[in-house]
Protein backbone atom coordinates (compact mmCIF):
# COMPACT_ATOMS: atom_id res chain seq x y z
CA UNK A 1 0.00 0.00 0.00
CA UNK A 2 1.24 3.47 -0.80
CA UNK A 3 1.83 5.87 2.04
CA UNK A 4 -0.21 9.00 1.61
CA UNK A 5 2.70 11.16 2.77
CA UNK A 6 4.81 9.84 -0.08
CA UNK A 7 2.04 10.52 -2.53
CA UNK A 8 1.55 14.05 -1.23
CA UNK A 9 5.23 14.81 -1.69
CA UNK A 10 5.41 13.41 -5.17
CA UNK A 11 5.04 15.50 -8.28
CA UNK A 12 4.06 12.59 -10.40
CA UNK A 13 2.39 12.90 -13.69
CA UNK A 14 1.09 9.45 -14.46
CA UNK A 15 0.04 7.68 -17.62
CA UNK A 16 -0.99 4.05 -17.99
CA UNK A 17 -2.12 1.62 -20.64
CA UNK A 18 -3.45 -1.91 -20.43
CA UNK A 19 -3.49 -4.32 -23.36
CA UNK A 20 -5.65 -7.44 -23.50
CA UNK A 21 -3.20 -9.94 -24.99
CA UNK A 22 -6.03 -12.10 -26.35
CA UNK A 23 -7.06 -9.24 -28.63
CA UNK A 24 -3.51 -8.63 -29.83
CA UNK A 25 -3.05 -12.29 -30.74
CA UNK A 26 -6.24 -12.24 -32.81
CA UNK A 27 -5.23 -9.22 -34.87
CA UNK A 28 -4.19 -10.30 -38.35
CA UNK A 29 -1.76 -7.41 -38.68
CA UNK A 30 -0.01 -7.79 -35.35
CA UNK A 31 3.43 -8.74 -36.66
CA UNK A 32 2.90 -7.43 -40.19
CA UNK A 33 5.91 -5.44 -41.38
CA UNK A 34 3.89 -2.46 -42.62
CA UNK A 35 2.02 -2.24 -39.32
CA UNK A 36 5.23 -2.48 -37.28
CA UNK A 37 6.95 0.23 -39.34
CA UNK A 38 4.06 2.67 -38.79
CA UNK A 39 4.39 2.41 -35.03
CA UNK A 40 7.83 1.28 -34.00
CA UNK A 41 11.39 2.44 -34.60
CA UNK A 42 13.95 0.08 -36.11
CA UNK A 43 15.56 -0.80 -32.73
CA UNK A 44 12.10 -1.52 -31.30
CA UNK A 45 11.20 -3.76 -34.25
CA UNK A 46 14.46 -5.69 -33.81
CA UNK A 47 13.75 -6.12 -30.09
CA UNK A 48 10.21 -7.35 -30.80
CA UNK A 49 11.32 -9.74 -33.55
CA UNK A 50 14.06 -11.24 -31.37
CA UNK A 51 11.86 -11.64 -28.28
CA UNK A 52 10.90 -15.17 -27.15
CA UNK A 53 7.26 -14.01 -27.25
CA UNK A 54 7.10 -11.37 -30.00
CA UNK A 55 3.36 -10.63 -29.58
CA UNK A 56 3.73 -10.01 -25.85
CA UNK A 57 6.83 -7.88 -26.46
CA UNK A 58 4.93 -5.87 -29.09
CA UNK A 59 2.02 -5.34 -26.68
CA UNK A 60 4.47 -4.19 -23.99
CA UNK A 61 6.05 -1.66 -26.34
CA UNK A 62 2.65 -0.38 -27.41
CA UNK A 63 1.47 -0.05 -23.81
CA UNK A 64 4.63 1.86 -22.85
CA UNK A 65 4.23 4.27 -25.78
CA UNK A 66 0.58 4.90 -24.92
CA UNK A 67 1.35 5.41 -21.23
CA UNK A 68 4.21 7.78 -22.07
CA UNK A 69 1.96 9.73 -24.44
CA UNK A 70 -0.60 10.22 -21.65
CA UNK A 71 2.08 11.71 -19.40
CA UNK A 72 3.37 13.89 -22.25
CA UNK A 73 -0.15 15.12 -22.98
CA UNK A 74 -0.56 16.17 -19.34
CA UNK A 75 2.81 17.88 -19.33
CA UNK A 76 2.60 19.64 -22.70
CA UNK A 77 -1.15 20.06 -23.11
CA UNK A 78 -1.27 19.32 -26.81
CA UNK A 79 -2.28 16.27 -28.80
CA UNK A 80 0.27 14.53 -30.95
CA UNK A 81 -0.05 11.29 -32.90
CA UNK A 82 3.48 10.14 -33.58
CA UNK A 83 4.07 6.70 -32.00
CA UNK A 84 7.68 6.49 -33.21
CA UNK A 85 8.56 9.67 -31.30
CA UNK A 86 7.75 7.85 -28.07
CA UNK A 87 10.52 5.27 -28.18
CA UNK A 88 11.25 2.55 -25.66
CA UNK A 89 14.82 3.56 -24.96
CA UNK A 90 15.79 0.87 -22.48
CA UNK A 91 13.41 -2.02 -21.99
CA UNK A 92 15.39 -3.43 -19.05
CA UNK A 93 16.07 -0.12 -17.25
CA UNK A 94 12.56 1.17 -17.85
CA UNK A 95 13.19 4.35 -19.82
CA UNK A 96 11.12 5.72 -22.68
CA UNK A 97 12.20 8.75 -24.67
CA UNK A 98 9.56 11.32 -25.58
CA UNK A 99 9.76 14.56 -27.57
CA UNK A 100 11.88 16.79 -25.35
CA UNK A 101 12.61 14.37 -22.55
CA UNK A 102 12.69 10.94 -20.98
CA UNK A 103 10.19 9.19 -18.69
CA UNK A 104 10.45 6.05 -16.62
CA UNK A 105 8.06 3.13 -16.88
CA UNK A 106 7.07 -0.01 -15.01
CA UNK A 107 5.49 -3.09 -16.56
CA UNK A 108 3.15 -5.61 -14.95
CA UNK A 109 1.90 -8.74 -16.65
CA UNK A 110 -0.92 -11.18 -16.03
CA UNK A 111 -1.97 -14.32 -17.87
CA UNK A 112 -3.94 -12.32 -20.41
CA UNK A 113 -2.89 -8.72 -19.97
CA UNK A 114 0.08 -6.41 -19.87
CA UNK A 115 0.06 -3.04 -18.13
CA UNK A 116 2.46 -0.14 -18.44
CA UNK A 117 2.68 2.71 -15.96
CA UNK A 118 4.74 5.70 -16.90
CA UNK A 119 5.82 8.64 -14.77
CA UNK A 120 7.71 11.87 -15.18
CA UNK A 121 11.06 12.45 -13.51
CA UNK A 122 10.89 9.77 -10.81
CA UNK A 123 9.98 6.13 -10.78
CA UNK A 124 6.24 5.50 -10.93
CA UNK A 125 6.55 2.94 -8.12
CA UNK A 126 4.85 5.41 -5.76
CA UNK A 127 1.57 5.17 -7.58
CA UNK A 128 -1.33 2.97 -6.52
CA UNK A 129 -2.30 0.66 -9.35
CA UNK A 130 -5.30 -1.62 -9.70
CA UNK A 131 -6.03 -4.00 -12.55
CA UNK A 132 -9.54 -5.37 -12.87
CA UNK A 133 -11.50 -7.60 -15.21
CA UNK A 134 -14.34 -5.75 -16.95
CA UNK A 135 -17.50 -6.97 -18.64
CA UNK A 136 -20.21 -5.41 -20.77
CA UNK A 137 -20.13 -2.75 -23.43
CA UNK A 138 -17.33 -0.20 -23.72
CA UNK A 139 -19.51 2.39 -21.97
CA UNK A 140 -20.31 -0.02 -19.14
CA UNK A 141 -16.62 -0.88 -18.81
CA UNK A 142 -15.75 2.82 -18.58
CA UNK A 143 -18.38 3.30 -15.86
CA UNK A 144 -17.08 0.33 -13.89
CA UNK A 145 -13.51 1.58 -14.13
CA UNK A 146 -14.44 5.12 -13.04
CA UNK A 147 -16.45 3.78 -10.12
CA UNK A 148 -13.57 1.52 -9.06
CA UNK A 149 -11.13 4.45 -9.12
CA UNK A 150 -13.46 6.70 -7.12
CA UNK A 151 -14.19 3.94 -4.62
CA UNK A 152 -10.47 3.38 -4.16
CA UNK A 153 -9.88 7.05 -3.37
CA UNK A 154 -12.91 7.23 -1.08
CA UNK A 155 -11.76 4.17 0.86
CA UNK A 156 -8.08 4.97 1.14
CA UNK A 157 -8.47 8.64 1.99
CA UNK A 158 -11.57 8.16 4.15
CA UNK A 159 -13.79 10.56 2.25
CA UNK A 160 -17.42 9.99 1.24
CA UNK A 161 -17.72 8.57 -2.27
CA UNK A 162 -20.32 11.22 -3.12
CA UNK A 163 -17.82 13.98 -2.30
CA UNK A 164 -15.62 12.90 -5.19
CA UNK A 165 -15.99 14.01 -8.76
CA UNK A 166 -14.37 12.53 -11.83
CA UNK A 167 -14.23 14.84 -14.80
CA UNK A 168 -12.33 15.07 -18.07
CA UNK A 169 -10.50 18.02 -19.51
CA UNK A 170 -11.02 19.11 -23.15
CA UNK A 171 -7.97 16.95 -23.94
CA UNK A 172 -9.83 14.00 -22.38
CA UNK A 173 -7.52 13.83 -19.36
CA UNK A 174 -9.37 12.36 -16.37
CA UNK A 175 -9.23 14.19 -13.06
CA UNK A 176 -10.60 13.44 -9.59
CA UNK A 177 -11.59 16.36 -7.43
CA UNK A 178 -12.65 16.13 -3.84
CA UNK A 179 -15.01 18.57 -2.17
CA UNK A 180 -13.95 17.10 1.18
CA UNK A 181 -10.33 18.23 1.17
CA UNK A 182 -7.87 20.08 -1.02
CA UNK A 183 -5.93 17.30 -2.68
CA UNK A 184 -5.39 17.10 -6.36
CA UNK A 185 -5.31 13.50 -7.55
CA UNK A 186 -3.38 12.61 -10.61
CA UNK A 187 -5.29 9.81 -12.21
CA UNK A 188 -4.82 7.70 -15.28
CA UNK A 189 -7.31 5.20 -16.68
CA UNK A 190 -7.11 2.57 -19.38
CA UNK A 191 -9.22 -0.28 -20.63
CA UNK A 192 -8.87 -2.75 -23.43
CA UNK A 193 -10.79 -5.90 -24.24
CA UNK A 194 -11.78 -7.52 -20.95
CA UNK A 195 -9.50 -5.56 -18.62
CA UNK A 196 -9.25 -2.13 -17.09
CA UNK A 197 -6.63 -0.42 -14.99
CA UNK A 198 -6.23 2.76 -13.05
CA UNK A 199 -3.31 4.39 -11.28
CA UNK A 200 -3.53 7.20 -8.77
CA UNK A 201 -1.09 9.54 -7.11
CA UNK A 202 -1.94 12.71 -5.31
CA UNK A 203 -0.09 15.97 -5.02
Amino acid sequence: MIKESLLRESQLLLGNDIVDLRGVSKRARTLDDRYLHKIFTQPEILRIRKAPKPVTCLAAHWAIKEAAYKVWLKERGKRYFAPKHFEVHSFTKGWVSVPGGMYSFRLQTGSHWIHALCGKEITPSFAAVQILPLAGSKAEQSDSLRTAALTYVATHFSVPLESLELSRSPLNIPKIRSKAFKTSFDLTLSHDGGFGAFAIACR
Binding site: R34, Y35, K38, W62, E66, R79, F81, K138
Partner: protein, 87 residues
Protein backbone atom coordinates in the same frame (compact mmCIF):
# COMPACT_ATOMS: atom_id res chain seq x y z
CA UNK B 1 -11.14 12.39 -56.60
CA UNK B 2 -13.17 15.05 -54.77
CA UNK B 3 -13.03 15.65 -51.03
CA UNK B 4 -16.65 14.40 -50.77
CA UNK B 5 -15.79 11.15 -52.54
CA UNK B 6 -12.77 10.63 -50.29
CA UNK B 7 -14.82 11.33 -47.16
CA UNK B 8 -17.48 8.85 -48.29
CA UNK B 9 -14.88 6.13 -48.85
CA UNK B 10 -13.14 7.00 -45.58
CA UNK B 11 -16.49 6.72 -43.80
CA UNK B 12 -16.69 3.09 -44.95
CA UNK B 13 -13.11 2.42 -43.86
CA UNK B 14 -13.56 3.70 -40.32
CA UNK B 15 -16.84 1.83 -39.66
CA UNK B 16 -15.27 -1.43 -38.41
CA UNK B 17 -13.31 0.49 -35.78
CA UNK B 18 -16.25 2.42 -34.30
CA UNK B 19 -18.03 0.43 -31.62
CA UNK B 20 -21.02 2.77 -31.22
CA UNK B 21 -22.30 2.89 -34.82
CA UNK B 22 -24.74 5.72 -34.01
CA UNK B 23 -21.70 8.02 -33.78
CA UNK B 24 -21.18 7.54 -37.51
CA UNK B 25 -24.49 9.29 -38.29
CA UNK B 26 -23.11 12.70 -37.42
CA UNK B 27 -19.64 12.53 -38.95
CA UNK B 28 -18.40 15.93 -40.14
CA UNK B 29 -14.98 17.18 -41.27
CA UNK B 30 -14.28 18.43 -37.75
CA UNK B 31 -15.19 15.08 -36.17
CA UNK B 32 -12.25 13.88 -34.07
CA UNK B 33 -11.44 10.23 -34.80
CA UNK B 34 -10.15 9.49 -31.30
CA UNK B 35 -12.29 11.67 -29.06
CA UNK B 36 -15.62 11.82 -30.94
CA UNK B 37 -15.68 8.37 -32.54
CA UNK B 38 -13.73 6.71 -29.69
CA UNK B 39 -11.36 4.99 -32.10
CA UNK B 40 -8.27 3.87 -30.22
CA UNK B 41 -4.84 4.84 -31.47
CA UNK B 42 -3.93 1.27 -32.48
CA UNK B 43 -6.96 1.29 -34.77
CA UNK B 44 -5.98 4.70 -36.11
CA UNK B 45 -2.90 2.95 -37.51
CA UNK B 46 -5.23 0.33 -39.02
CA UNK B 47 -7.21 3.10 -40.69
CA UNK B 48 -4.04 4.61 -42.13
CA UNK B 49 -3.05 1.22 -43.58
CA UNK B 50 -6.59 0.60 -44.87
CA UNK B 51 -6.57 4.03 -46.53
CA UNK B 52 -3.22 3.29 -48.18
CA UNK B 53 -4.67 0.09 -49.63
CA UNK B 54 -8.04 1.55 -50.62
CA UNK B 55 -6.65 4.67 -52.31
CA UNK B 56 -3.40 3.13 -53.60
CA UNK B 57 -1.28 5.69 -51.79
CA UNK B 58 1.46 5.90 -49.21
CA UNK B 59 0.95 8.01 -46.11
CA UNK B 60 4.25 9.03 -44.54
CA UNK B 61 4.76 9.52 -40.81
CA UNK B 62 4.57 13.33 -40.96
CA UNK B 63 1.23 13.17 -42.79
CA UNK B 64 -0.12 10.45 -40.49
CA UNK B 65 0.50 12.78 -37.53
CA UNK B 66 -2.09 15.17 -38.98
CA UNK B 67 -4.89 12.58 -39.27
CA UNK B 68 -6.73 13.33 -36.06
CA UNK B 69 -9.97 14.59 -37.59
CA UNK B 70 -12.01 13.36 -40.55
CA UNK B 71 -11.33 16.59 -42.45
CA UNK B 72 -7.58 16.39 -41.82
CA UNK B 73 -7.57 12.73 -42.93
CA UNK B 74 -9.38 13.68 -46.15
CA UNK B 75 -6.80 16.42 -46.83
CA UNK B 76 -3.90 14.04 -46.22
CA UNK B 77 -5.40 11.39 -48.52
CA UNK B 78 -6.17 13.95 -51.22
CA UNK B 79 -2.59 15.28 -51.09
CA UNK B 80 -1.20 11.73 -51.25
CA UNK B 81 -3.37 10.93 -54.29
CA UNK B 82 -2.09 14.06 -56.07
CA UNK B 83 1.52 13.22 -55.12
CA UNK B 84 1.05 9.66 -56.37
CA UNK B 85 -0.24 10.89 -59.74
CA UNK B 86 2.62 13.32 -60.22
CA UNK B 87 5.27 10.64 -59.55
Amino acid sequence: MSAEEIQSKLHTLIQPYVEDKSLLDSVKPETDLLQDLHINSAHLVDIILDAEDAFGIEIDDDSAEQMLTVGAAVEVIQAAIIAQKSD
